[in-house]
Subunit: 216 residues, 2 copies
């Protein structure tokens, strides 16, 4: 297909690009739930940062003669399903999704990127995975509401569990359908590495929930 | 309030800033209606351009010690009402809204900006009013669907009339409540100027509808 990028790398860049595009769209949509104009501005600013990540990934693919639309295509359904099945019903669910959901996705992609042999691609991925400020913002806002209304904590903890469950379902489906992407992980034969990856993602998820004062 | 910007100018920058912020949000939301990923990318790109206009206006206010949230506050309700009462029910209604609604708003602001005495402010306004590519995109897509399904044309023409009606209702409300902004126009005593402004906006609206092959 392409002289410079192998299929697994194209897959990885494709899923990242669509992930950023849809993260942009959902953050911008959730901005409608913002209780104040200042909160709306904060969310719109993050959405915008996601879009500029999308643009970097797309331009990188185009510069290497890869059609970004084709590269994203296999991941449109799983990512759309994830988002459709986890539409936040209020502002706080939206914040938890931005924090917990994007946090887990970022951890996963960052770990996977260490398997990418090409230096330039690895650096690009690590750069677009930089936090756009949503973690700090979400923690601040969610802690405020839990301090005001402790009962909200239980509901948001359950919501976070549902996000993790839905994410795993979709990730599994992608793994089954995209051999090349799976090979990138499993093909290394580094099974201890995979266990380490899962453990690292779980640990970081628990850490994040801990920062909110919620149980994972 | 402020040594460098008078109240009318702050009002004008405030309504423009909130208009851009909400245009960003609605374009990004409408991207969910896009029939293809390529269309989604096109709309997201436009949404992003609106956001960078918002950022320019906000930074300009902040640099002049004006609180942008306070400057936008009087216009939140009228603009939200406009958008809430004109939520597109499909992709094509969204395109018409982006084209006809933003087109009229742009014409209006551009005319008003000619009354702003401060050169720097006037140039800023004219720069953020530059088309973000949505006109050409909307015309292309809407003409395609009308060629395919001529019956859609009538529905979209009615939708455009509704947009104009709702916009006039909200504009009138703003005019009643914001003396300073109204003064900027009427205070010049240039009633012939106002008539010319309304005529110019109406003419351009008819031109835009004509480009779509629809009656205004």
């Amino acid at each position: 297909m392409n002289a410079t990028l192998d299929l697994a790398t194209i897959d990885l860049l494709g899923v990242l690009a669509y992930g950023e595009l849809i993260a942009f769209e959902r953050l911008a949509t959730d901005a409608q739930l913002a209780p104040t104009v200042a909160d709306k501005v904060a969310l719109a600013t993050m959405a915008n940062a996601e879009f500029s990540h999308f643009r970097q990934l797309r331009d990188y693919l185009v510069a290497r003669d890869v059609d970004p639309i084709a590269a994203m295509a296999p991941f449109v359904d799983p990512l759309d399903h994830f988002h459709d099945s986890t539409t936040p019903s209020d502002w706080y669910e939206g914040l938890i999704k931005a924090y917990v959901g994007d946090g887990m996705a970022t951890d996963f992609y960052r770990e996977v990127s260490t398997y990418v042999k090409d230096d330039e691609t690895r650096l690009l991925i690590q750069s677009v995975l930089q936090d756009t400020g949503q973690a700090e913002f979400a923690v601040l806002k969610v802690k405020e509401i839990i301090a005001d209304e402790p009962s909200v904590g239980g509901r948001l903890a359950l919501w976070a569990r549902r996000l993790v469950g839905e994410a795993l379902i979709q990730a599994q489906q992608v793994a089954v359908e995209r051999d090349a992407l799976l090979e990138l992980l499993v093909g290394t034969g580094d099974l201890a590495g995979i266990t380490r990856l899962l453990k690292s993602i779980t640990d970081k998820h628990e850490e994040r929930m801990g920062l909110l004062g919620l149980q994972a």
